[in-house]
């Protein structure tokens, strides 16, 4: 059984902002899945949906099976128990994701006290251990977030995510706000820790090169959909979908911030989720679009062994 099994997940904000549209993804225990896509394609929405953390204005449908249990239909009590202990999240931008008025040691200890009913001294010992794991001195437990550098804060977030030995960690652009050298350190740290402890990882980034380096499998997201999914190297080196190709061409080198918003060689802006183009949502920007693309929306289908793509050119449904 897959550890995480997302089935036909859709998320709509308000009445018309379709941020995630019919996503199917699976992650096996201990494996690493990367999700890439431009800003606004729905990556964070997908990540937050996994633990039902979206604002009340978001309506969800489909299934999110975590260890066989559907997160979307769980009772509140069960959901709280699953949060952090079953799956934890490393958020984008640790400055704002940590509480400025609490010591970082207390923030790391909090899930231990909630989920493990740990005694304060036991929690304190565990916090020391966790800080060591992420390469921070134990004494930093008494520091406040503003006393740490960006990289150190992200290490704190990682220590916090590991606190309850979850089976899955979701990392939503864990290195976006950091400079390139620190980015590489943090990525290596995450990769090493999840591998050592056999934790499954869903890593979200706009940077395909980073993901190809870290993950077993890669999914490419466009306008709320998965348009390509397959083994990491195959998606990066031999993308099937025209958007996947544009994305991998855009990131020849890890952590190039200039290509964040406009992948190289790809004119135009990503579509507004409230007013999506007809047919294949990529067709207004697609360099190889056919006439049918404006009316036909190709499903995600096998294009090579274990490698799926949603394009009329790869699914063989070409007229």
């Amino acid at each position: 059984m897959n550890l995480l099994d997302i089935r036909n997940l859709s998320v709509t904000y308000g009445t018309d902002t379709a941020a995630v549209r019919g996503v199917d993804l699976t992650v096996e225990a201990g494996r690493k899945l990367g999700i890439a896509g431009e800003s606004g394609c729905g990556k964070s929405t997908l990540a937050l949906a996994l633990l039902r953390l979206l604002p009340a204005s978001a309506r969800l449908s489909g299934q999110i099976l975590l260890d066989g249990e559907d997160v979307l239909t769980m009772k509140w009590g069960r959901l709280r128990a699953v949060r952090w202990a079953g799956a934890s999240i490393v958020f984008q931008g640790a400055m704002h994701s940590l509480n400025a008025v609490h010591r970082i040691g207390d923030q790391i200890a909090e899930p231990l006290l909630v989920h493990r009913q740990a005694t304060p001294p036991a929690a304190r010992r565990r916090v020391g251990e966790l800080l060591e794991h992420v390469g921070l001195p134990t004494a930093r437990a008494d520091a406040y977030p503003h006393e740490l550098s960006g990289g150190q804060r992200q290490r704190v977030m990682i220590a916090m995510a590991l606190a309850c030995d979850p089976r899955l960690i979701v990392a939503d652009e864990p290195t976006t706000a950091l400079d390139v050298m620190i980015q590489a350190q943090i990525l290596r740290l995450i990769e090493q820790l999840v591998s050592e402890q056999n934790i499954a990882l869903v890593m979200i980034s706009h940077d395909l090169a980073v993901l190809a380096d870290t993950c077993d499998r890669l999914a490419v997201m466009y306008a709320g959909r998965i348009v390509e999914e397959g083994p990491a190297r195959a998606v990066y080196d031999a993308a099937q979908h025209p958007y996947g190709r544009a994305l991998s061409a855009a990131f020849p080198r890890i952590g190039d911030p200039a290509s964040r918003r406009a992948p190289r060689g790809l004119p135009g802006d990503p579509p507004d989720p409230a007013a999506l183009p007809s047919g294949c949502t990529f067709h207004p920007r697609c360099p190889v679009a056919l006439e049918v693309c404006a009316s036909e929306d190709p499903p995600l289908a096998e294009a090579a062994p274990g490698h799926r793509s949603a394009c009329v050119l790869t699914t063989g449904s070409r007229p």
């Binding site: 937050l48 633990l51 953390l53 709280r80 128990a81 699953v82 949060r83 952090w84 202990a85 934890s88 999240i89 958020f91 931008g93 640790a94 400055m95 704002h96 994701s97 940590l98 509480n99 400025a100 008025v101 609490h102 909090e110 899930p111 909630v114 989920h115 520091a143 406040y144 503003h146 006393e147 740490l148 550098s149 960006g150 990289g151 150190q152 706000a177 950091l178 400079d179 620190i182």
Partner: protein, 342 residues
């Protein structure tokens, strides 16, 4: 506030040094001293340019000869050059000597000391109650903002806020002191004590006298705290750290109490201390309506003469209380917000 991207490049930690708090402290104390000096200057010159001869005002209605007026002038130092009056005034004020009241023929300091406890008791209790009430209701309102409870809450608070306090006080006196229809007169119409109680009975008697004036002050006063707390909690509610707290599996009330409220309190606390600063001035209207023997009533009496040294002294006392409370807020703030003064 530093943004994540701005601080991202820093590899070295920028923890505060051990000398940061003393320096912060010295800065705030210096600021308070400057403010106090400004108050003295203002009070001195403000009251010198008010037209009207204070000695004439003092002797109004009493036939006084020119020599007697001159003697009085000399007695109050009004014949000296202005700058000398000013230096004398400052030197005395700093030793707690705020001059003699024309009206009561008693030192202003003594009069203030007599009336201060009653005012501190009444307004102090009221401010503590309405701050707590405002914080509590403001928190509830923001957490379920837009709902019926929120709209009811803010609607009632705003309505009460716009009610004149003397009018509400009189209304309460009519209903609960005099009694109306089936409602018997339950509370005294005014004053602070009945005069013949001692010990515990005295405490209960004073509390009994306080009910209506406190109720009046709370009713017209809590809206401000409510609205500030509501606004600052609403600001916090989009915060990513709350998503983190929820993701950790905390119950909703813990997310609110442990994470959202401590952050939202920071802007509110300054305002609560400003309100505490107003405590000394009391409420002239409410003290007058309830014949409360406090500074507000004294100020009213001083103004109606006008009793220049008393008005001036009270002005300094009221402003000094504001400065003191602001200073306390500044000193307390670093304990609540680790980003300040460390």
């Amino acid at each position: 506030m530093t943004t994540a991207s701005a601080s991202a490049g820093a590899v070295v930690e920028r923890s505060g040094t051990a000398t940061a708090y003393p320096r912060y402290l010295a800065g705030k104390l210096g600021g308070a001293a400057v403010s106090l000096f400004a108050v003295l200057v203002t009070s001195f010159f403000l009251f010198r340019i008010i037209p009207g001869d204070p000695v004439k005002a003092m002797t109004q209605g009493v036939p006084t000869s020119a020599e007697q007026l001159a003697t009085l002038r000399r007695q109050f130092g009004l014949d000296l050059p202005l700058w000398q009056q000013f230096t004398d005034y400052c030197a005395k004020a700093l030793t707690g000597d705020l001059g003699m009241s024309y009206q009561f023929r008693a030192p202003v300091g003594e009069l203030v000391a007599q009336k201060l406890p009653a005012t501190l008791l009444l307004t102090g209790v009221a401010v503590v109650i309405y701050s707590a009430l405002g914080l509590w209701l403001g928190t509830r309102s923001a957490w379920r903002h837009g709902g019926l409870g929120d709209r009811l809450n803010t609607g009632i608070a705003l309505t009460l806020w716009s009610v004149p306090s003397f009018w509400l006080g009189l209304l309460l006196i009519i209903v609960f002191s005099v009694g109306i229809g089936p409602v018997p007169g339950m509370f005294p119409t005014g004053g602070m004590e009945s005069g013949d109680e001692t010990g515990l009975a005295y405490v209960i008697d004073v509390a009994h006298h306080m009910v209506l004036p406190v109720l009046t002050l709370v009713a017209v006063g809590y809206a401000q705290t409510l609205l500030v707390m509501r606004a600052s909690l609403l600001d916090e509610m989009g915060g990513d750290y709350l998503t983190t707290a929820r993701a950790k599996g905390l119950r909703d009330d813990l997310v609110r109490r442990r994470h959202a409220v401590p952050n939202a309190l920071l802007p509110t606390i300054t305002m609560i201390f400003i309100n505490l600063g107003h405590v000394a001035a009391g409420s002239i209207l409410v003290e007058t309506v309830f014949s409360w023997p406090g500074l507000g009533g004294l100020f009213y009496q001083a103004l109606s003469v006008p009793d220049l040294p008393l008005v001036q002294g009270l002005f300094v006392v009221f402003a000094g209380a504001m400065i003191l409370m602001n200073l306390l807020a500044d000193l307390l703030y670093p304990l609540l917000d680790p980003r300040v003064g460390r």
